[in-house]
Symmetry: C2
Amino acid sequence: MAELVRVAVDAMGGDNAPAEIVKGAIDAVNECKNLKVFLVGREDDVNRALSGLTYEKERVQVVNATEVIEMAEPPVMAIRTKKDSSIVKGMYLVNHGECDAFISAGSTGATLVGGQVIVGRVKGVDRAPLAPVIPTRKGPALLIDCGANVDAKAHHLVQFAKMGSIYMENVMKIKNPTVGILNIGAEEEKGNALVKETFPLLKNCPDINFIGSVEARDIPAGTADVIVCEAFAGNIALKMYEGTAKTMMGVLKEGLTSTFKSKIGALLALPSLKKSLKAYDLKQYGGAPLLGLKGLVVKTHGSAEAVEVKNSILQCVTFTEQNISEKIRENLASD
Amino acid sequence: MAELVRVAVDAMGGDNAPAEIVKGAIDAVNECKNLKVFLVGREDDVNRALSGLTYEKERVQVVNATEVIEMAEPPVMAIRTKKDSSIVKGMYLVNHGECDAFISAGSTGATLVGGQVIVGRVKGVDRAPLAPVIPTRKGPALLIDCGANVDAKAHHLVQFAKMGSIYMENVMKIKNPTVGILNIGAEEEKGNALVKETFPLLKNCPDINFIGSVEARDIPAGTADVIVCEAFAGNIALKMYEGTAKTMMGVLKEGLTSTFKSKIGALLALPSLKKSLKAYDLKQYGGAPLLGLKGLVVKTHGSAEAVEVKNSILQCVTFTEQNISEKIRENLASD
């Protein structure tokens, strides 16, 4: 049997903790024989969530952590002072080599800060980007960076492009993934100072399959497999994607239920409609990895339910088995 | 009778020029008695488009311009060299006081550059932002700036906030419009260097109704009437809005037509669905004004058809009658 992949799970983070988090973790353990999970959180709460669930006891371990970092807490201070929180303890399991990965649906800020200061970056990586996999008309794409490092420099973006390519090739199995830079026009002379400085660096980078600028309007259509961006712009693109999809669904629902006739129509059309829209469910790909760290850190949505938690954990298994951190270290060391 | 509002129209710009542009202009003339349009373009082409249309001859004037600026041309060079193009001639009509406003569905770059260098900025305005009105769940909102000035500074964003407030209050008739700054989190300490520098300036600005940070995901829900942003971020938010809506509509259509049952359902639900979705038609508000110029310049979509052209022209009438440029001059002169 291969060595078990060990994933630490923040059992206390997110809107549905601990019940959905614990359930998702157990679902992952039951689906993947090559996995052990460490449920980090208040022992009593975690054990209560575990009661009634069936699983192999030796592949599930509860790690007691008495504190919880709340969503609104300033992240740096929280990481520094709450040493017995589920996030800090989970991160240390990775730092000490007791776990390969850590996932949390809790505070994004604390997860990002903890990843950088506790887990630590791979040698050669200057900044660790948050890189969610998003759905497009042509399949999954990686938006890198979406919030970890505002005001990044051009050479950081080049590293993001390399790390993103390695992730998409090895975890999402897209051969020679295309890389675009998020821009406000398709022409090479368009863009802000950062994009203009980064463009030629990407163009001359032999390790990636660079295809030029990608406009935000082309992202949902699936124009590139990896979209490189500075975190402020990337976060806006990601949130606008989520917000527009949510609003459109609301409008759609309103339209379908506004009259008796439309309700009958909705009943008839719903199965086909759901099937088409399922491809746009942001939860199917699991959470957003924080790349370039010594272990994998994954941030899932605060609203994550069991299925997203399960997918995020399975993503950690592929990541670890594919030895992504080592591949990133090798690739970036050659800079 | 009040003085006529005089609007110069680029009859050669956009995918549907000159036919749809000319038709939209004539529709506007027929709808608004207080309007005269100047159709700028190749005389023969414009006259051919006019033939068969009914209108008051003295309120429609054709201005011959033999050249056309193409979409792909570098804007600065095009404005400098194509002196007899519809964009350059139309802009000079405003600069010389022969027209109050100019609209184009042609090259965005040339329209932005021409606006700044030919029409010219109002005294006190440092940069002229492109500010499209976008639909939200709660009605129209203004996204300012969406592409005119990348890498703007904090004091520019404060001017955008003031100009946007004046526009929404006077043209869109929203009393004491709320102003938010586009950010990657709701907390005051979030953001990049530019947002952190701008936030306290907006907070302490007595002329606007500042409500703090707005996340991109909250824009479609209608969280603020005016959303202030640097052009690169604003352009990404706008294009992502358009791109996601377009992709979602495609997915929706695919779902509704995939089976016999869903097609029947679609037939029944379509009238209600169309009614709900109509509120999200980007074309209803006309084009995006370039604010802070001595006359109004409006950029409409390259794909604009007659109805959008008409709405853009009517928007110019309100703008001119409300004396917005003068209000901006007075407000910004006090800085």
